[in-house]
Amino acid sequence: MLNLPASILEYCQTLIFEQYSPAYLLTDKDGCLIDAGGSLTAYGVTNLQQGKPIAEQIFFLEGLLPLEGANLLLPCVKIEDKFCADIHLFSKAEGDWILLFNSNTEKSQQPIQQFVNNLSLSRYRQFKSLTQLFEYLFAEIERSLNLLEGNAMSESTLGELLATLNILVLERSNDGLFTAVRVEPNWFQHFFPDLKEAYVQPQKRFLFLENFIVDAEQIWQNKDSKLLKSGLWTETDAAENEWQFEASAVNVGDRHLLLIELLEVTYQEKQSLIQTARENKLSYENLVKEVQKKEILLHCILHDLSGQLTAINCCLALLSNENLSPRGKERLAIGERQVIKQGNLIREILDAFSADIETFQTEAFDPDTAPDIVQSAREVVDALLPTFMMNRVRLQLNFDLTQMDWQVVAEKSRLERIFANLIENALRYSPADSTVTVDLKTDENYIVATVEDQGSGVPPAIVGNLFKKFFQGQNNPGKAGLGLYFCRITIERWGGSIGYLPSPQGGAQFWLRLPKLSASRWAALS
């Protein structure tokens, strides 16, 4: 009935019902149950009795009914750790409606949130224990050096201690060279195998230290009591094995020391932690993108359904003017009722899915199938002409016939949907016997299309919100508030822009600007 293949309709229906398990309840103004249906068992709701207060039968609705004032949306309501639902409550003449939708958001985000929280806690604990460990180690080193100064411990014993800790201690002499404490850690030979001189120039082998020693000099010259750490760096040995180090500069008495520590477990733990956190973040970003893509897809499907429904409505209205037999009128009435039901269903689904959507990804642009904007506009104009005629509004398309270069960076079906959105909007606000004009102009790099009506124009107060999502125009004409939002994000993806200007004649004028294929880099690439 919707001029869409039955398979698509069937798929959409299955998608919605399988993923969101909708259920409904209708109560009277005293909060007693009138009607119920849908996937109630998915929310643990069974054995309902009509006429009885709903709060006595479904505990989580206690206190919510009867609904007073504005509609209510309770997202991600977790019921006894078993079900998670988005609960919508709204009031109509027949009573208060309660809609339940399975909350997939909670399912997908909760484990991630849990993981991130665990990670933060683990990071904090890790940081705390590392700090304690470092404090302990350096206190020990300092104590040992103090003992050494007092001849209480031999220098070789201290050297052994530090070597065991995988720390190379170099002392900087006044000539800027370094000498090692006698016992070097095992890794030292690996990087300085042929050292013959008494002094070491670690920065020659570890280029990273060239940089760090500049900062370390300041600590040593100023006899600063602070410890300066270099941060981690990685060295590769001759066998392509990677070793991780961290250096520290410190003054002990009059001695200027450079400590180079081989990080083994410490590095591995830190690397693993950061690796996990970043992988998790990348997965989360991908998940968000996927969710957004699905939501946009759903919105677009519903938007298309809505457009077709309007056309069917017009046809039915035209049919009603014909001389129909009583049986024909009866069938026409059935058709009209179905259209109203379908429209309500679309609006309810849109309400349920009005989650925040920042961006979406389009498939890659294919320059070989770049559309001719004149052809796209003409197809939309031709399709909408009957509707315009029925509303006694003229629709005309103007463009310069001498121009040949009308190919733009866009995708044909979406470009046509954009034109349909703008032209249908113009019709909605056009008085009878007025004209809607679609005008196409080209310059060196861009093509500008305008859709102008002779209605009352857009009030200045709402102009700034026109292209935001879920924004509904004046007098709430029953649309989802996605049309212009869709136009904006799609056109921006193609490198174009869209906007609104009041028409000099008093109506509304929407314009869009798209790069010409011939002027884009896509042409060069193709």
Binding site: E210, I274, Q275, T359
Partner: protein, 165 residues
């Protein structure tokens, strides 16, 4: 022989380490291994019959877990701002890092590398934003560490800029 220090700067998982691995050792791995700290590599290049030794500082990615220490950039003759074309946020990180780097070491040659060209179907970068930085005089090179496309060109272009001073 001329010696020049180059820093690889950018958000995490943009492919800095992979670009260096591709350029220095002609290898690539699909496994993401996050860099903690700094890795330094050397590569000798021949530019107009002149040998230039490049010291490549591969800095860890910038995010809330690790902030890049600007002191690592001391003495750098040039740097790469690496962006993952499939993640728009990495472009914004690159812009912020460029301002920080320039504040720290002054105006030295740099190149904005739009990496992961092999995944161009998933790119999120806006043509307008790229055009804007090109208009500001930035050099932008698209690359793929995976296929090698644009990698050599990026390093040689930066070397040329550094040598010309």
């Amino acid at each position: 022989m001329i010696q020049k220090k180059i820093c690889m700067v950018g958000a995490f998982a943009t492919g800095k380490t992979s670009l260096v691995a591709r350029f220095v050792r002609s290898i690539y791995s699909d496994v993401y291994q996050t860099t903690v700290g700094v890795k330094i590599n050397k590569k000798l290049v021949n530019l107009d019959n002149q040998e230039v030794s490049l010291i490549l500082w591969d800095l860890h990615g910038e995010d809330e877990l690790q902030k890049v220490r600007m002191s690592y950039l001391r003495g750098a003759s040039g740097y790469f701002l690496v962006v993952d074309g499939t993640r728009r946020s990495t472009f914004e990180t690159a812009l912020a890092l460029q301002a920080k780097v320039e504040e720290t070491i002054g105006a030295v040659p740099f190149i904005l590398v739009l990496n992961k060209l092999d995944l161009q179907a998933d790119w999120e970068l806006e043509e307008g934003a790229i055009a804007q930085v090109i208009q500001q005089g930035w050099t932008v090179i698209e690359s793929s560490a995976k296929t090698g496309l644009g990698v050599e060109e990026a390093f040689l272009t930066l070397t040329q800029k550094m040598v010309e001073g």
